[in-house]
Symmetry: C5
Subunit: 354 residues, 5 copies
Amino acid sequence: MVESFNSTAVKRGLAPGSLIHVGEVLDSVTRMSVIDYDKSNVEEVQIESLDEILQYKERDSVTWVIIEGLTNVEIVEKIGAIFAIHVLVLEDILNTHQRPKFEEYDDYLYVVLKSLVLQEGTFSVSYEQVSLLVLKNFVFLFKEKTDDLLDPILMRIRSSKGRMRSLGPDYLMYAILDSIVDQNFVLIDALDEAITSLEEELFDRPTPQTMHGIQRLKRELISIRRYVSPIRELMAELLRSESALIQASTAIYLRDVSDHVVRVIELLESYRDILSGLIEIYISGVSNKMNEVMKVLTLFASIFIPLTFLTGIYGMNFDYMPELKYRWSYPILWGAFISIPTVLLVYFKKKDWL
Amino acid sequence: MVESFNSTAVKRGLAPGSLIHVGEVLDSVTRMSVIDYDKSNVEEVQIESLDEILQYKERDSVTWVIIEGLTNVEIVEKIGAIFAIHVLVLEDILNTHQRPKFEEYDDYLYVVLKSLVLQEGTFSVSYEQVSLLVLKNFVFLFKEKTDDLLDPILMRIRSSKGRMRSLGPDYLMYAILDSIVDQNFVLIDALDEAITSLEEELFDRPTPQTMHGIQRLKRELISIRRYVSPIRELMAELLRSESALIQASTAIYLRDVSDHVVRVIELLESYRDILSGLIEIYISGVSNKMNEVMKVLTLFASIFIPLTFLTGIYGMNFDYMPELKYRWSYPILWGAFISIPTVLLVYFKKKDWL
Amino acid sequence: MVESFNSTAVKRGLAPGSLIHVGEVLDSVTRMSVIDYDKSNVEEVQIESLDEILQYKERDSVTWVIIEGLTNVEIVEKIGAIFAIHVLVLEDILNTHQRPKFEEYDDYLYVVLKSLVLQEGTFSVSYEQVSLLVLKNFVFLFKEKTDDLLDPILMRIRSSKGRMRSLGPDYLMYAILDSIVDQNFVLIDALDEAITSLEEELFDRPTPQTMHGIQRLKRELISIRRYVSPIRELMAELLRSESALIQASTAIYLRDVSDHVVRVIELLESYRDILSGLIEIYISGVSNKMNEVMKVLTLFASIFIPLTFLTGIYGMNFDYMPELKYRWSYPILWGAFISIPTVLLVYFKKKDWL
Amino acid sequence: MVESFNSTAVKRGLAPGSLIHVGEVLDSVTRMSVIDYDKSNVEEVQIESLDEILQYKERDSVTWVIIEGLTNVEIVEKIGAIFAIHVLVLEDILNTHQRPKFEEYDDYLYVVLKSLVLQEGTFSVSYEQVSLLVLKNFVFLFKEKTDDLLDPILMRIRSSKGRMRSLGPDYLMYAILDSIVDQNFVLIDALDEAITSLEEELFDRPTPQTMHGIQRLKRELISIRRYVSPIRELMAELLRSESALIQASTAIYLRDVSDHVVRVIELLESYRDILSGLIEIYISGVSNKMNEVMKVLTLFASIFIPLTFLTGIYGMNFDYMPELKYRWSYPILWGAFISIPTVLLVYFKKKDWL
Amino acid sequence: MVESFNSTAVKRGLAPGSLIHVGEVLDSVTRMSVIDYDKSNVEEVQIESLDEILQYKERDSVTWVIIEGLTNVEIVEKIGAIFAIHVLVLEDILNTHQRPKFEEYDDYLYVVLKSLVLQEGTFSVSYEQVSLLVLKNFVFLFKEKTDDLLDPILMRIRSSKGRMRSLGPDYLMYAILDSIVDQNFVLIDALDEAITSLEEELFDRPTPQTMHGIQRLKRELISIRRYVSPIRELMAELLRSESALIQASTAIYLRDVSDHVVRVIELLESYRDILSGLIEIYISGVSNKMNEVMKVLTLFASIFIPLTFLTGIYGMNFDYMPELKYRWSYPILWGAFISIPTVLLVYFKKKDWL
């Protein structure tokens, strides 16, 4: 499996709610940015200390705080203190082995899920945990490392066009979820390609490596499914939620994300079935191969063993063997050497053994 | 898999609701037709611009607008503007990778599903996405290309007989759904034939090609199921819907479609089981074949190897080998050459090895 | 599969509700009989025209109309007209590819299911569609051909004993359903026998024919299950129904039928598992067989190939081969010819290879 | 399968509710006993006629009537008449092919299930149907034969200790159900042992008999599961029941039985998985065996065939073969006879083929 | 399977509620400790008699009684008497074959589950049953033996920091459940390692031992799943419970445990799929191996058998064989000896047989 639980094991003795970072460290530096926007203005700043965000608390605009890198536990602790976030939520943010889930609290919503990014080269996936805290005018986004995941959304905020700027934090949440879910289609595209190439390999020249390739893909698929399928449930709960933080007009957008998730899951299931089919093809291919080899062996052995027996007879040294004296024995035997294989070959052909 | 997601990938960076066509282009020209009918009159026109349909807005008759070809994004945009359709619905119409679904809005219903058409030649299926917008007096139908899918319905509207003309847009919607669902029976007919012919091949002369044929069918089946099974859910939601746009009398017709969908899905499941059975037959057939080949080899080797050993003995050149001088040695050996195989054959026969 | 969908395909272009017979014609003549009964009287008549049943409309007695053979579409049409039956129901009666289902209408109930009858000879099943229309004082039963399916029920009506005569059309419906469902136990009995005989064959002398037998049974089972499992749901809906046509006292009888259906389905599932087990036995049996054959080959080859090599050595014609001159060479070699196989056999035995 | 349905088949023509015994006759004599008890007194009698139980009708004590042997149909009929039991219940009591179920009537409860008893010797199970009728002060228990199933309960009634005597018929029902369900643990114990011994056999010396053993166990398991799993549902319905015949304080005991049933079912599922694993081990074991045999063959053939060829060369009778005259030819050839196998063996070893 | 049911079998004859210890005895001595704590004080004592805990009944502090070792039945009996615990609960505490479950009573809650601890050495798990009785101010914990399971919780109570000390018995219950559930992550870590090492073995040098290793792991997994999956349900019931003993603020903590359980179960499912994949790899690996061996055999046999036949021809002793006299026969034959294998090798190579 991709993840290691050693750190979970290490944490076992601690009181629940003790804030430490659990999971592999993907990025050891922590970066914080604030994007504050409303219909008319956008303000983007890199901040060093959380105190700088206090000023946005009074404003009516949407304030989006992005925290990249989770090693600095104090930041999470401080956000918890300022905005009265439950300690278990803070713990979940810092523990990157979360199952995707949605939790509704009185004053905020908490969403955690995995962003799946395709790695270059052979088909392999990297997982990054993304946590969202949605408050009345604030959205906190925690991610494990710096990458370009959020660039398209930032672009849309910067350009004054589109609905983005005139809508609230719930729409921002939707935009982020949509962006993370739609990444999976890229993944599926690559999966399709990987399977197709394996399939061709299987028909052309199956090797044990092909089998390993299939198994590797199968495991990758198991792991992807494990992170994607809970999102269906997450979205269902989000849609059922009656929190004042989600406006009625946003629900229709969330339903759209939900549809996409269902489609992704169904596609993953299809690929699972197809992979099982590939294994069947491989195993039947190996059997066919052996059949062919066996036929060659049988062909050679069945034809030459009787002939060799014949030569053996006339290689014996008995004093009394009348055929040895006979003038035409040798040519007649040659006739047998030619006719016996012919008869056998015709017979085998007819029996469809060869 | 049949579809490519590259375009989905391309779209990822865009704001949701940005209208662009996503999916393979099946037809690059867009054709628009209007069929306006009520009990007494039918009017059919090919139109060039959407402005031409504005006149029907005032009438009480049912106006059916058919848009074939989805590359002209502006048409969809304009319909959205005129009839106040949600931007996500417009987006879904243009994206041909939709999962079949039904969505209910205050003033209109949205249904999207796949029309599955059997291709000529070997068993293979083409998929066309059909979207339906049902309004008070209007039905918009969007499809990817021009074909004869709707001809039977058009025929029924033209002939003044039947219920068609005296009923509303919901009955038209039913007629379209019914027509798309019932196509699947033709598919299943062809599937049945394809499986039967594979099965005969399997019993007569199984080759690796037969195995590939089975696998190809299995994948086609996976893909069909993926597009057909969500329709069950779609119909269930349609039946549960309490929209004023669906009249009570239409519900019974929709239930009929729903029954057909369930039957199609159950048949597909049966064929899945049968295909798995074919793979088992194939694999056991390969084993049987190898068994037969092995038996031939064993027969030849077991009989001739001992005999050859015998000839080897009397081919040795020892000075002192009394048998060589003996007058009857050679005929006696011939007796052995005949009796040993006979004994072995009888023994093998009895042990049921050959 | 058993059925052909060609006719469904043919019908695709028609308006829903166009009454034509769809399905294989099992009986081309249509027979109509009326059994009218109450506590005190029974009247049985063969009728030629539907007009003859109009007289029963006024009576309080239960009138059971049996229509055998579905090719005469007009009869169904006329019943629809007289008793105000929905056109889709009429269509379903005539289409013999129905999934078993129950539909409740204001004035009547519609039940359609398959009667499964075991064919003589090898295990094979024939399917006949039976439709029931239950009205206030009427029960219409449509079946595809003339057979003895209903004889036991007719007998019970004729004899004045039993509850039959004193109860209403709902009890008659129950009696018919019960009779059709209980037929399946006969089927399962035969299935059990067929499986047991296959199993014995498998242990005694497995051939590819045994495998085909298993597969044939498996397909038959798939097909039976397809027609039987929806009856569970049908019965559940019937039990949930609050129609005034079903009296409270009948519910308990229907529950009994429901129990039987569940039992039949569970038995079918068991047999499915057992059939899978048979396939496993077959495949492992084939492997064992090959193992045995291989062992014979190995035995012969391993013993005689080294000996033949030995004879080869002393068959060489070198001028200088001192052993050839030696008086005891030949007897010593015979010693080797006997001791080498003995040693090998003991070794193989010990290693459990043979 | 264990049971035969011939009798069901025979019964098919009869009116529902016709009382005849259906199923294999396990005991042809019918025995009746009455145990009447309350806090202070216990009375046990063997009775000959049902009239003898009428006297208990007036008393407040719990009267438990045990009927062993089901061939005497009149007894059941008479009980039905005296206590107004529905005819379908009476029918179910007499038909020993019942699926375990619970039915609630106004004045009585009906429970039917199977008592599973392990047979001596190899693992095999006998099934006995037990029916319970629970009335206000009466409990009727019908079983197919005389055995020691109820002895522990009788013992507890006789001894005045324990809750038994001071509680009502519902507690007696619980005690009986508990006793029947807990028998299954003995079964599972034996199953565990049987599987363990099969497993050892599989690792030591797998034979086709082992495979048959596995299959036999698998079928036994299928059959056990078929009788045990419906009890889960039965208990759930019993717990949901609001019948006045079940006191609130008994519910907690019934829940305990329910827990046990769930545990039994989960254990059975585990064993199913384990049995599938055994089949996999067997098949892979057969393959390994064949591999080993093949290796021996290959070893012998690959080493001696080339050597025999060499001897063949110098056994030829050409006039001009200079090597034959050469003094050291023979010893040099012996060198080849020794070095070639050595090289091959080393090579095979290195390639890990042998 | 891990557990033996012999003792269950032994108990079968007893009245329900007879208190005896059922299950393997893990520790024959019973130890009792009391930890009484509130915000300001902690008191820890080892007690000898239950009478010593009576004094805590009056206090408001949380009193946690830990009973290690279950052989002393009287202790459980006495607790039952003092705190009015239902006899079935007491029975469940003493029977260590419980399925994890939660039961709610008026004055107390009962939770029973298994603590899974990884054994040193190869992957193997030991199971210990832990029962919890939660009362107003008391928590009783029963476990089978003395180990360090509770040490971290004790540590947290002793240190005055953290929420522990200021919260009630429900929070203590949560802490214990959390601790037991989180142990499973350590298990999964080890499982992952065991699978990875098996996988490497499989790719490097698969032996029947590897197969046994896989099967052993599979059984261990079946057994783990059997004890872990019911905890999901247990937690769900705990969360649904409206008992006054669970405070609203604790619910959120319990939800956290519930999330962890779901994650553990999903991980276990993933590993199950992966293990099945390993078996497939193993079987295909065995086939590949045999293929390779067969190829060697075929190579040797196909090349040398024809050559040996050639030498056989010229080893014959016919008087009239003109080639024998010919000066260049022998060198020409050597040409054949070299060219025939070359041609065959090239041909095999091209056909991809070798």
